[in-house]
Amino acid sequence: MAVRLASLAVLLTSLALLDSSCGGDRNELILGATTSVQDTGLLDEIVRAFEGVTDYHIKPSIGGSGEVLAKARRGELDVIMTHSPADEDKFIADGEGLDKRPVMMNFFLIAGPEADPAGVRGAASMSEAFKRIAGGQSLFISRGDQSGTHLRELSIWGEADITPQGQPWYQESSTGQGQNLVVASDKDAYTLVDSSTFTVFEKRAGLRALLTDTEKPNIYSVIRVASDKHQNVNATGAIAFAEFITSPAGQCVIADFGMEEYGKSLFEPAARCPSANVGG
């Protein structure tokens, strides 16, 4: 029985091995992307479209922008898509990445309860709205995870000249974009969220979009990890991905995404998608 058991183990393991090692080393491309790209469902679409036109197999590594950049600095990723401009610029200045190109954008907005006890709706700016939330001691849920959204939130607190950490009305959920919105909704709290994730969760979360930051769009960029610094990086694969996602074909995947289900693009492509309908 032990022999049979052992041979079965070997068989099954080799099966599992067989499946995963297909394609070989040079065809695997590790893409670092942020939770909003996964939580909206866009990631699966991008992977499918890219694998349809190339021989590469994408292996996604998902985390907040902070986590993605940290892994990229270790040479564990080939190409990244993040939305944390200041950290990205530092990443490139340090020689860790190159060839930053805008891919798509959305907007940050403050979501909160319909009743809006702090009066965010009438605020003239994001920092003004944050001042009202702090002044009214209204519950605010922060991502708290060094993601692009979290860093933007911190910069708005900075503009408002408020230190929210440690305040009883300020809680850090340390979850992904979608989950964070669910937590805020459950607690009838305010939170900062990107417009794409908000659209996906609008039906389920009981929160309203109270104030949108139209002045500073949230820009997602593709950056190749420097292959001269990290020898294992798949440079040709990274170039293929960066070219694809900024090409008309890649931009149209982004423009079309969400049209069917929500009647609008969830993310606005950085360049125009030639075949999209007017305003696409």
């Binding site: 079965l8 599992a16 995963s20 939770t35 996604p60 270790r74």
Partner: protein, 232 residues
Amino acid sequence: MDLIWDGVTEALRLIFSGDSYVYEVTFTSLLVSGSATLIALVLGLSIASFLAFRAPPGRTLALSAFNAGMALPPVAVGLLVSIMLWRTGPLGQLHLLYSRTAIVIAQAVIATPVVAALSTAALQGLNPNLRLQVLALGASRWQAALLLFREARISLLAAAMAGFGAAISEVGATIMVGGNIKGSTRTLTSAIVLEVGQGDFETAIALSFILLGVILVLVTLFTVLQQRRPPA
């Protein structure tokens, strides 16, 4: 509460409509956790036989380690296996990270101490004279081991079920080393996490019921096997 009933009906719909996505993630879960359990059984039974029959010096210390290992935090296992498999890690050249094999490794690391600790207890529970008697009657070490395994089979199958349960219900390490890739490393548990992240609670609950159903069917089979009278 409505959500739970909707989840049950959605689960039934997904199963009977032959939804290919659900079958695919279920297959991945079974393949990966089945492999991990078999590896854990081979390693765990070997360790248990060694500890129980040979009674090596430092056995109590080793047993304490395996008993503690039953409470290994999966997230720590996931992190350690990730670092080992990172491109810059010692096993980086194997390119195993974000593959099914990586999940098998992580789950085997989690399940092995469970099988080892429970099996050692099972084998230690046997009458120590039994082994001596069998050996005296001319059985080889292998034959003696097999006979003792059969003698302790009720407890050993319980150990196998505990190991399988630890493997298939695991999610933290699975996502960390597997990457939750659609069509490859997306298991039932990581699919549930993804659906929750995407706010699709109905599908998440449906998948949870499917996972529970799969575990129930398999454990029932194991239990029938366990409760069967031994062949004469």
